[in-house]
């Protein structure tokens, strides 16, 4: 498929390599300093390598608390996004109604809106409504942008599947519910999985909106942020950052593969 003439020139290769290094070098540094023996400053190269910080990190109860909160928030926000995103996509795709385009736009807006705007908006709205900041408000904040990833994935899948499949199912005697279960759901399953994983990853490492909507609670990213101001046991922060990296990176890769597979079919 690739002929000799289509090979990228060396200048382009160099530029590409430079961009990749620029993008990912910081992440490499994070991983590297999770193993350093120096616990106060970042000196390069690290004076020595050790695994002790992993043990220390695992014994920090404040870390576990934050981790647990982040996990619960991400799972519930993703669940809410799956239901709401699928419903919104189904409504927008299947029926024509006044303001359909506007609703589609409004659903997607939170991902385009700067987090700080969403954060301020949610905080003021919640203060106005006298809603105390809590676990619930964090979830609401996260759901705003999690819905978008599910919605986008599902509606893209709907657009690729013919409308007559639903009609065919009803024609063969299936009710709306049976049609959803036997025809629609299997069709959008991988889209839901991909959208859900992206939503989970987005929620798990969210800082800005969380800062505005959380009360006293600390999610893992906020815990990391607070740790950076304290130089003690600095590598622990890096160790936790590596966890976050893995927990968000793996779902995104899986989601990417899922959507790739189905488009190749």
């Amino acid at each position: 498929m690739h002929s000799e003439s289509q090979r990228a020139p060396w200048l382009l290769k160099l530029a590409t390599a430079a961009v990749i290094v620029f993008l990912h070098f910081p992440a490499v540094i994070i991983i590297l300093y999770a193993f350093t023996t120096d616990d106060r400053t970042f000196t390069f190269p690290p004076p020595g390598l050790t695994l002790q910080w992993f043990g220390v990190a695992l014994q920090r109860s404040d870390m576990w608390e934050a981790f647990g909160l982040s996990l619960r928030v991400a799972v519930i926000a993703t669940g809410a996004a799956l239901i709401l995103g699928t419903l919104a996509a189904s409504a927008v795709h299947r029926s024509k109604f006044f303001g359909r385009e506007a609703i589609s736009f409004l659903v997607i807006l939170p991902i385009a809106l700067p987090g700080i705007v969403t954060g301020i908006a949610l905080r003021s709205a919640m203060s106005l409504g006298n809603i105390p900041f809590s676990f619930l408000t964090i979830i609401i904040g996260h759901a705003t942008f999690c819905v978008v990833t599910v919605y986008n994935n599902v509606i893209a899948r709907y657009r690729r599947t013919g409308k007559s499949q639903v009609e065919a199912s009803m024609d063969l005697g299936a009710t709306s519910f049976q049609t959803f279960r036997f025809v629609v759901l299997p069709n959008i399953a991988t889209a839901l999985l991909a959208g859900g994983m992206l939503a989970f990853a987005l929620s798990f490492d969210e800082v800005i909106v969380t800062t505005f909507t959380a009360g006293q609670q600390m999610t893992l990213p906020i815990w990391i942020f607070s740790q950076l101001t304290r130089p003690r046991q600095r590598p622990v922060t890096n160790v936790v950052a590596v966890f976050v990296l893995l927990i968000t990176f793996i779902p995104i890769i899986i989601a990417h593969r899922l959507t790739q597979d189905t488009s190749a079919e």
Partner: protein, 347 residues
Amino acid sequence: MSDQPVPAIRFSGVSRHFGEVKAVDDLNLDIYDGEFFTLLGPSGSGKTTSLRMVAGFDQPTSGSIQLFGNEVAGLPPYERDVATVFQDYALFPHMTVGENVGYGLMIRKVSKPERQQQVEAMLNLVRLPDMAGRKPSQLSGGQRQRVALARALITHPRVLLLDEPLGALDLKLRQQMQIELKAIQQQVGITFIYVTHDQEEALTMSDRLAVFNLGRVEQVGTPADIYEHPTTEFVAGFVGTSNLIRGQLAQAIVGSPEPFSVRPEKIHIQQIGDPIDAGHCSATGRIDEVAYLGMLTRYIVALDGGGELTVVEQNLESTSMEVMAARNKPVLLVWSRDHNRVLSEKG
């Protein structure tokens, strides 16, 4: 009417309006049990909308649709004893061929062994044995078509609706499927309602057909009826080709300005000065264009009295060289008066 059986489908004053657009306008039509009935018309003529109203995918704005005497307007698709074969087949891509065909039975909670047996029988009927394990994506267009047919027939609907089912197939396969569809219809003995814009297909397959134009039915009849006795200008022009003669030219040929049509194959080309038999019409002209079509040759003859006529002759003895040499030749056109069809201006 009283000696007629209850029609399989009866449209009474059915209209479907989309805002200002009258997709179907005051449709009255009876389709009898066991008929292969075709709704023929150009795109946007209302034939597909009419079919979708029978299936329940679309609801009439007004009027009533009866299925064996029972009103169905307002019922959802799953409560109607009809099944549809879709233009794009609408097979479920995540299911095997066998699961697709057995879908209707699965919904009706038929036991698995029973289902398997019926799926097998149905796949045999459409001549796709041993395909149950494949996925639809592994099949050719013609095979998918057969799977769609088997899936629709397995629940033994009383009426099968086919929405341009052969539209996506190539000519050879289409002709083969036309014959097969007709054979399957005779075998299962139920009413087929077939939507197409292909007049040849309609003439080949139908017991009767309705010609649609602009949301209205122009004419209903057997293929021979429609072809030999078109009653409107539109039908004469849409079903086969016709020469439309009107006004002054009509006056000159038959002595009346009423419009009429005559089929190109009914007109014979003769030498100027040849005798004209009683009961025949004639016109003189000059051959303007010749198209050699293999089995046939089509001539466009510019008439001396203005206008032109299309004439088709079989190439029984002539070769392409000979017919091509006829260009610009002055000729006498002769045809029997019996082949003139007076048309109403309707439509």
